[in-house]
């Protein structure tokens, strides 16, 4: 929240759209503004009343560079919009940079999302440093209801809850990387970096930096699904394959390879397989191991075919994986390979399997990967 918890004193807040962007139809702008305000009225007692003349609490306009408030915009990209905290005069006013391209889809920049963020400020919200929050300062396109629990907590501290608000489903807050119970969905190398996926987020672990960088999967790759099951890098081909459900995508660096997504059954998996839990490329053999439920497959990257004699049992071939309570582990969430060791992740643990000694030789916490 802003210092002194600035807020509107009554629950009916007026707004007026004083001009329009040529990038969108007028009714598309009206709809984006309406839906952006509705995001906040859904979770509070606030009601928004539209004025077509005179001065409203929230005066909405599009302008370029210096646009009348001595707080100039900066041309395309960079600074997209700003809004002022609740108060008289300029208070609550919301300005959009006309030098941007305003859209109603995932192309930059989606007017509804930026407006919902700016109206957060106009109602008294400051920035959040949770990358999954709407009030995070950096633009990130995400479909669906944009508020996270962090956003809702903030606005309801100012205005209370919506007495007759329907059940909305906020976005979960960002995972805490050093939570000892943290489990991961997938992990892969990417040109010397490590990408660790969890829910809608991923951490970029760079060998030179101690601090992994947290981001939203869909703000980096809008075409990927919100959550992924497995990923691996084939450095020989300089591609990363991402699995989600029965589909797979190929990344070349950070760009998606055209022609994807494809079905995982193209690899030679039977149709009964509906998702891949973990995947890892073994550089010493040129084979990719694909883990599905209690079994795993071996895919020959060179011939593009599944090896004979698979699937095989995970428990039988990778002995020594035991949970804290001693139960044998027979499924895997994620996998990586480094210097003759296979790292198999299950729940909050990772098992270091030695190919030479043919057994698990160490058990670590999964988030050891994130320098915890």
């Amino acid at each position: 929240l802003f210092p002194r918890k600035l807020k509107w004193q009554n629950t009916i807040v007026t707004f007026r759209i004083t001009n329009y962007t040529p990038d969108l139809e007028k009714e598309d702008v009206d709809k984006a503004i309406h839906n952006a305000l509705k995001v906040w009225s859904d979770v509070t007692p606030l009601k928004f009343k539209r004025l077509h003349e005179g001065v409203a609490d929230i005066m909405i306009s599009f302008g370029k560079l210096e646009h009348g408030d001595h707080n100039p915009f900066d041309g395309p990209n960079g600074l997209l919009a700003h809004a002022y905290p609740p108060g008289m005069g300029l208070g609550g006013d919301t300005h959009f940079d006309e030098d941007e391209t305003w859209t109603k889809d995932s192309d930059a920049y989606n007017l509804f999302l930026v407006a919902a963020h700016e109206f957060g400020h106009a109602l008294g919200m400051a920035h959040s440093n949770d990358p999954g929050s709407l009030m995070y300062p950096v633009y990130a396109y995400t479909p669906g209801f944009p508020l996270s629990e962090d956003d809702i907590k903030g606005i309801q501290e100012l205005y209370g809850t919506n007495p007759d608000g329907g059940k909305i489903k906020p976005k979960p807050e960002a995972p805490e990387k050093c939570d000892p119970e943290l489990s991961i969905d997938a992990v892969t190398e990417l040109r010397g970096e490590m990408l660790v996926f969890k829910d809608r987020y991923f951490w970029r672990v760079h060998p030179q930096f101690t601090e992994p960088q947290l981001g939203l999967i869909q703000s980096t790759w809008p075409q990927l699904p919100k959550k992924i099951n497995a990923a691996y890098e084939n450095p020989e081909k300089d591609i990363v394959i991402i699995f989600s459900g029965i589909r797979m995508w190929a990344l070349n660096g950070y760009t998606l390879v055209p022609g994807y997504p494809k079905y995982i059954h193209r690899l030679g998996l039977p149709k009964s397989i509906r998702k891949i839990d973990a995947a890892v490329y073994i550089s010493d053999t040129g084979k990719t191991l694909l883990f599905t439920d209690e079994e795993y497959w071996s895919y020959n990257e060179e011939t593009g075919t599944m090896d004979q004699g698979y699937p095989r049992s995970i428990k039988d071939d990778f002995p020594g994986m035991r949970e804290n309570d001693g139960d044998e582990v027979d499924e895997v969430d994620a996998a990586t390979y480094r210097n003759g060791y296979l790292y198999l992740y299950h729940e909050n643990l990772q098992y270091e399997y030695s190919y030479n000694r043919r057994k698990v030789v160490r058990i670590l916490r999964a988030n050891d990967l994130l320098h915890c």
């Binding site: 802003f2 002022y84 930059a108 400051a126 300062p137 633009y139 601090e211 947290l214």
Partner: protein, 81 residues
Amino acid sequence: FTKPLPADGTERWLLGERYLRQYYGLQPGLMGNLKPSDLMSEKIRTMQSFFKLKVTGKLDDNTLDVMKKARCGVPDVAEYN
């Protein structure tokens, strides 16, 4: 992720200084001879801890990478005057 980072030092500094003035209340004209004044390093550290980056007080690539991303114009910490 974003457009290639500026190669030469001057452009990096100008980008960093503009960003810190806009969002972290850095007073203008504290550049000196392209050496980070203590105050500027302190503002860089504030920004790095807000974005959960490695806190170095320097305009390293990761920090500049975030500074180049499209964002909201409201300051992250200083009260909006």
